[in-house]
C-alpha cells in the first residue's frame, strides 16, 4: 500500500504541473479561441532563463523566477500584439500554424543561445524531502501541488471579482458583442497571453526542478498535457486542473501497475483511453460548455 500512495503522490504532483500547462492553454483559448501550440516553448524558455539568472548570474532564485516571468510575459504580450492581433478574422487554423512556427523558432533560439550543455536550475529544494508513513514527499513536488492550488484560487478571484476577469468572460462568450459593448478585447487578449506565459514559467520551474534539469526536451511536456485540456474542457480552468491531475495520476499509476499483456508503453496510451472514454460520455469534456447555436 505504501507503494501505491508513493505513486499516487507522484501522480498528483505530475498532474499539478500538467494542470499549470493546461491552464495556459485554457486562458488563451477562452480569450481568443486560439489553441496555443507555443505553450511548451514558453516552458522551455522560462526554465533556461531561470537557470541562466540563478546559476550563471548569481541572482537569488525567486528573483530569477520573477524576472523570468517578466520576460515571458513581455514575449507573450509582444507576440500577441505584433503578430496574432493582425490575424483577427482569419481562420483558426492560421493562428494555430503561427503558434507552431513560434514554438519552433523559440526552441531553436534556446538551443542556439544556451547551447547543448547540461544546465542546473539553481532551485532551493534540490533533493530535500520529508518522509512520513514510508512515503517520500520531495519538497519540489509538494510545492508544485501547493502552487497549483494557489494559482487556481488566484485565477478564480481574477475571473469572478476583477474588471478584466469579467471582460475576459465576456470576450470568451462573444468577442464581437463584447467589442460592441466597449470591452477592450485587444487588451484582454494581451492579458491572456501574459497569464499563459506566467503559467508556463511556473510549470517550467517545477518541470526542470529536481531530479530533472533544464533540457531541450522540456517543452514536449505540453503535448502530455493535451489530453488534460480535452478531458476537462478547453474553456474551463477547473476542467484544466481536474484533467491535469487525472492525467498525471493515470500516467504514473499505469506506469507502476501496467499489466504485462498491455505492452511496455501502456502508460503512454492510458491517458488517451481515459480521454476518449470521457469524450464518449461528455463530448465537450468534463466541464466544457455545449455551444448553443441559432438555427
Amino acid at each position: 500500500m505504501t507503494e501505491f500512495f508513493q505513486l499516487l503522490f507522484s501522480g498528483v504532483a505530475l498532474g499539478a504541473v500538467y494542470s499549470l500547462i493546461a491552464l495556459g492553454f485554457t486562458v488563451i483559448y477562452r480569450a481568443s479561441r486560439v489553441i496555443n501550440f507555443s505553450q511548451g516553448a514558453f516552458i522551455l524558455v522560462s526554465a533556461y532563463v531561470i537557470s541562466w539568472l540563478a546559476t550563471d548570474k548569481g541572482v537569488p532564485f525567486f528573483l530569477a523566477v520573477a524576472l523570468s516571468i517578466v520576460f515571458a510575459v513581455a514575449v507573450g504580450v509582444a507576440f500577441q500584439l505584433l503578430v496574432l492581433r493582425h490575424l483577427v478574422g482569419r481562420s483558426a487554423f492560421v493562428a494555430v500554424m503561427v503558434t507552431i512556427g513560434a514554438s519552433i523558432a523559440m526552441t531553436a533560439a534556446v538551443s542556439a543561445i544556451f547551447g547543448p550543455d547540461q544546465k542546473l536550475l539553481g532551485d532551493p529544494w534540490g533533493s530535500s524531502a520529508v518522509h512520513a508513513a514510508g512515503i517520500t514527499f520531495t519538497w519540489v513536488k509538494l510545492w508544485s501541488i501547493i502552487v497549483v492550488a494557489a494559482v487556481l484560487y488566484a485565477l478564480y478571484l481574477f475571473d469572478r471579482h476583477s474588471r478584466y476577469g469579467l471582460a475576459m468572460r465576456a470576450t470568451a462568450s462573444d468577442h464581437i458583442a463584447a467589442l460592441a459593448a466597449g470591452v477592450p478585447v485587444g487588451r484582454v487578449h494581451a492579458i491572456a497571453w501574459g497569464m499563459a506565459a506566467t503559467l508556463g514559467t511556473i510549470a517550467g520551474m517545477f518541470l526542470a526542478g529536481f531530479p530533472n534539469s533544464p533540457n531541450l526536451g522540456l517543452g514536449d511536456a505540453s503535448f502530455r498535457a493535451f489530453p488534460a485540456i480535452i478531458l476537462g474542457g478547453l474553456e474551463s480552468p477547473k476542467g484544466a486542473v481536474v484533467g491535469g491531475v487525472s492525467i498525471g495520476v493515470v500516467e504514473i499509476l499505469t506506469s507502476g501497475y501496467s499489466p504485462g499483456w498491455a505492452g511496455t508503453n501502456f502508460s503512454a496510451v492510458a491517458p488517451y483511453i481515459v480521454m476518449i472514454a470521457v469524450l464518449l460520455a461528455k463530448p465537450y469534456g468534463l466541464f466544457g460548455s455545449v455551444p448553443a447555436e441559432r438555427i
Binding site: E3, Q6, L7, S10, A13, L14, Y29, R33, I35, F37, T55, S91, A92, F93, V96, M97, I100, A108, S111, A112, G115, P116, D117, Q118, K119, L120, G126, S127, A129, T136, T138, L207, F210, P211, N212, S213, N215, L216, G217, D220, A221, R224, F226, I230, L234, E235, E251, I252, L253, S255, G256, T264, N265, S267, P283, Y284, G285, G288, S289, P291
Partner: protein
C-alpha cells in the same frame, strides 16, 4: 468546447507530425564530382578515383552528418571535435600516403528526415560518411546500401555488424550489456538480483536483448524490467518497481536527460543500488555543470559517486593506454578548449579508423566506392592504442568488437571515469 476548434487542433497536430515524418523523394546524385578517375592501381603509382576524390589535388572529401543542435548535440559536438582532431593530426603528418582528408559537416539535429536530406545533399561529393545516431543512420541505410558508400555510424546498434557498408567502432549494445552485467555480478560479486530501466525504443530493445542473454546465461536473477518513454519527467514508478523487487544491480539504458533523474529519484526514495550505465546514459555534465572537476556538482552527483559503473565507449580520459598520450597531445594542439570527454576520445578513435581505411584504399590504388569498401573489409584488426575496442571488419556479420571497457564514476578523476577493466568479455 467548440468542436470546430477541436477539429482544427487535431488537424494541426496531425499536420505537424506529418510534416516531421516526410522526407524528400529525389534520388541522390551518385556520380563523382570533384573526383576524376584515372589510372588503374598502385602498381603504376596511380590511384583510381571516385566520388569525393580529387586525385589531382590529392584530397579526399568526406562528410560528417551529426547532431550539433537538438537534444543529442551534447554528444555530437565533442565526438565531432575528436574526429576532426584525429584527421588534423593525420593531415599534419602528411595525410594518407600524400592524400589530405577534408571533412565537411552537416547538422541534422538528430532528426531522421533532416539526416536523409543532408545525406542526399552530400553523398555525391563524399568518399565516406560519418552518421550520428541509430534512428538517423537507419533512415539513410537503404540509400547507402544501394550506393555502396562506406558509412561510419556513431552508434552501437547490434545490427550494424550485419551491414557490409557500415564501419562501426565499439562494442554493440547487447554484447556490451551482457559483458557488463556478468562482470559486476560474477567477478565483482556485487549481487545476483538484477533489474533494468530502459527507454522504450530501438536503443532500449537492443539493451534488453543483451540483458536477457546475460540472465539466460545463468547466475543472474531478473527481478524487474522497467521501461519508460522518451520525454518522461517522472521516474517514480520505474524506481519503485526496482526497489520493491530488491534489484541489487540496475542497468540504466537511457540518455543523460533521463539517467540523472532516475538516479536522483532513487536516491530521494532511499534506494541506492549498484548502477551499470550503458554508454549513452553517461555524460560528464551530469556530474558537474560544465563537466569539469572544478564545476558545480549537480544534485545527483553524490548519488552517482556512490556506486555507478559505466560501459564506456572509449578509454577514460587520461587512462594508462598506449594511445592516450598522443591523443592528449593532439587535443592540446588542435582542440585546446575541449574539456575531458568520453565522446571526444571516441570521436578521435573514429577519425583514426577513417584514416586507416582510406590509407588502405590508397595503398590498394583504388579510392572508388568499391575500392574503399574493399579496403575496409580487408583492413584486419585495427590497433587504436586502447582508446576504443579495436574493430575487425573481416568477421562478416559478427560484432566488430566484443571486448568491453568498464569504468567507475569517481569524483576525483578527470572526466569522472576511473578505469576498472578493459577487454571484458562475457561467458
Amino acid at each position: 468546447m467548440n468542436s470546430r476548434h477541436m477539429t482544427v487542433a487535431a488537424l494541426a497536430a496531425a499536420g505537424a507530425l506529418t510534416l516531421s515524418a516526410c522526407g524528400t523523394g529525389s534520388s541522390s546524385n551518385n556520380s563523382g564530382s570533384s573526383g576524376s578517375s584515372s589510372g588503374s592501381g598502385s602498381a603504376s603509382g596511380q590511384v583510381t578515383g571516385g566520388p569525393g576524390i580529387d586525385t589531382a589535388g590529392k584530397t579526399i572529401h568526406i562528410t560528417s552528418i551529426t547532431a550539433l543542435s537538438g537534444p543529442a548535440s551534447a554528444l555530437g559536438i565533442p565526438a565531432l571535435a575528436g574526429a576532426r582532431t584525429a584527421l588534423k593530426a593525420i593531415n599534419a603528418a602528411g595525410g594518407v600516403d600524400g592524400y589530405k582528408i577534408k571533412m565537411s559537416v552537416k547538422d541534422s539535429g538528430y532528426v531522421p528526415q533532416n539526416h536523409v536530406q543532408a545525406y542526399k545533399a552530400t553523398v555525391g561529393d563524399s568518399a565516406m560518411i560519418q552518421s550520428f545516431g541509430s534512428p538517423t543512420t537507419k533512415a539513410i541505410q537503404p540509400l547507402f546500401d544501394r550506393e555502396g558508400i562506406v558509412v561510419q555510424p556513431l552508434s552501437w546498434d547490434s545490427v550494424w555488424s550485419k551491414d557490409p557498408n557500415l564501419a562501426p567502432v565499439g562494442v554493440p549494445y547487447a554484447t556490451d550489456v551482457k559483458n557488463g552485467l556478468e562482470y559486476l555480478s560474477k567477478q565483482k560479486k556485487l549481487g545476483t538480483k538484477v533489474g533494468i530501466v530502459y527507454q522504450d525504443d530501438e536503443y532500449g530493445a537492443d539493451a534488453l536483448r543483451g540483458y536477457k542473454e546475460a540472465v539466460k546465461a545463468g547466475g543472474l536473477d531478473d527481478v524487474a524490467q522497467a521501461p519508460f518513454k522518451v520525454g518522461d519527467t517522472d521516474f517514480t514508478a520505474q524506481v519503485q518497481k526496482l526497489k520493491s523487487k530488491g534489484a541489487q544491480i540496475v542497468l540504466v539504458t537511457a540518455l543523460p536527460s533521463a539517467s540523472a533523474p532516475i538516479v536522483g529519484t532513487a536516491a530521494s526514495l532511499g534506494y541506492n543500488p549498484t548502477y551499470l550505465f550503458q554508454g549513452p546514459a553517461w555524460l560528464e555534465q551530469i556530474f558537474t555543470k560544465d563537466g569539469t572537476k572544478s564545476g558545480k556538482p549537480t544534485p545527483v552527483a553524490g548519488a552517482l559517486a556512490k556506486q555507478t559503473y559505466v560501459l564506456a565507449f572509449a578509454a577514460p580520459w587520461g587512462s594508462d593506454v598506449p594511445g592516450m598520450a598522443q591523443m592528449l597531445a593532439d587535443q592540446k594542439q588542435y582542440a585546446p578548449k575541449q574539456i575531458p570527454s568520453e565522446y571526444f576520445t571516441f570521436g578521435y578513435a573514429q577519425g583514426k579508423i577513417i584514416g586507416a581505411i582510406l590509407k588502405k584504399a590508397v595503398q590498394n590504388g583504388d579510392l572508388s566506392r568499391a575500392g574503399i569498401l574493399k579496403a575496409k573489409e580487408s583492413l584486419g584488426s585495427v590497433d587504436l592504442g586502447g582508446l576504443a575496442p579495436s574493430p575487425d571488419y573481416t568477421s562478416g556479420g559478427s560484432p566488430v568488437s566484443t571486448k568491453s571497457i568498464i569504468a567507475r564514476v569517481d569524483k576525483n578523476t578527470t572526466g569522472f571515469l576511473k578505469p576498472v577493466a578493459s577487454g571484458v568479455t562475457g561467458q
